[in-house]
Symmetry: C3
Subunit: 136 residues, 3 copies
C-alpha cells in the first residue's frame, strides 16, 4: 500500500535549510506502524540531505564547504545560466535528490540529532517541488 | 507487490551518460498508479545520478569536477589496477549506486529537467549491470 | 509487507569499515523472493556506503580523500565539539545515511565486489544505531 503527495516548499534563499516540519505538516503518518517515506526533489540545482537539526553554524559551514568544492571552476562550459548554475548541478548530484526514511510507530524514525534539509544551490531558485511517497 | 528485472547497460566510455531511455525501454510501468522504482548498480567503480537532461556540457563539467576532486592523490595506496581505479571507487561512493524515483500515473515522476545518469568512472568499464525493482 | 529491526553496530574506530556480515547476521531474508532492504543510520557524523569488499587499501584511501576534501577548513564556525565534528557532518551528507539494496531469491542482490560500509567520521563515535527495513 502506498500513498503519494506532491507539495511545493516555500521559496528559500541559497543555503542549507531545515524542512522537517514542512514535510511533517504535509503528511499524516500517525497510523503507519511500519513503513518507509521517500522524499523526492524534482529539480537538478537543489538537493536533499539529512543532517544536524540544531546548530545553524552546521548549515553555514556546509554551504561554504560545498562552495569551495564546486564553485568557479575554470573548466566549466555550462556557464550561460549564471555562475551559480553549474555548481548547483554538481552539488545536487554530490548530495542527492531522493531520501528514504523509515517510519516506526507513526513517526519518522530519525535519530535525536537528525533533521531533513533542503539545500538550495541557486541564488534565486524559486519554490521547489517534492514528491512524498509513503510505503507501508 | 514488487517486480524485479536485471539488465545490462550498453558499454559506455568514461564520463557521464543519460540512460533514462535505456531504463524506460526495459520496464513497463504503464499500469503502476502509485509506486517506486529502485535502480541499483552492481558495481563499485561507476555510479548513478539524477541530473540535467539536455545540455551535454553539464555532463562534461561533472566529469571534470569529479576528476579534480578525486584523481591523482599522492596518498592513494590502491593503485595496482590503474590510476583510474581508486578515483572510480571514490566517485562511486560520493555519487552513489542506488536511486529511488517515484512512479505516478504510469510514469516516472521526474521533474522537467531531470534525467537518469550512468556515470562511468573507469577508462574501460565494460558493460554495467543494474537491478530494477518496482514497488507498488 | 514490511518488517523492521533496530540494531546497534559494534563501536568502530574512525575510518571506513565493512559491515556486510554484521547486517546479514541481524536479518533473516532467506524467505524473501523479491524485496528491498533499507539501511538507515540514525546519526549525523557517520555514513553508509557501498564499495569494494576486499582491499583494505580502498577503505584507507577513502578516509584520506574525505579528510582532504572536508577537514580543517578555516571558515568552519561549528568547532566547539572538536575539529573532527564539522568535517564528520560534511562527510555524512556527501556519502549519505540511507541505502537501498534489492533482495532477490533470499539474498542481497549485491555485485560480486560490493560490500556495505559504515563510515565512522568521529575520532570516538561510539556505537552507532541503524534501522533495517525489509520491504516485500
Amino acid at each position: 500500500m502506498m500513498f503519494q503527495k506532491e507539495i511545493q516548499l516555500q521559496t528559500k534563499p541559497r543555503g542549507f535549510h531545515l524542512i522537517t516540519d514542512e514535510i511533517l505538516n504535509a503528511l499524516d503518518i500517525s497510523n503507519v506502524n511500519v513503513g518507509m517515506l521517500n522524499i523526492f526533489l524534482k529539480h537538478t540545482s537543489a538537493s536533499l540531505s539529512i543532517n544536524e537539526n540544531v546548530e545553524p553554524e552546521v548549515r553555514k559551514d556546509l554551504e561554504n564547504l560545498m562552495n569551495e568544492l564546486c564553485d568557479d571552476k575554470p573548466y566549466y562550459q555550462h556557464t550561460y545560466e549564471g555562475n551559480d548554475d553549474m555548481p548547483a548541478h554538481a552539488k545536487s548530484s554530490l548530495l542527492g535528490v531522493s531520501l528514504n526514511i523509515p517510519i516506526s510507530n507513526g513517526k519518522l524514525n530519525l535519530g535525536t540529532w537528525q533533521g531533513i534539509y533542503l539545500n538550495e544551490h541557486r541564488n534565486y531558485g524559486g519554490s521547489r517541488k517534492i514528491v512524498l511517497t509513503v510505503m507501508t
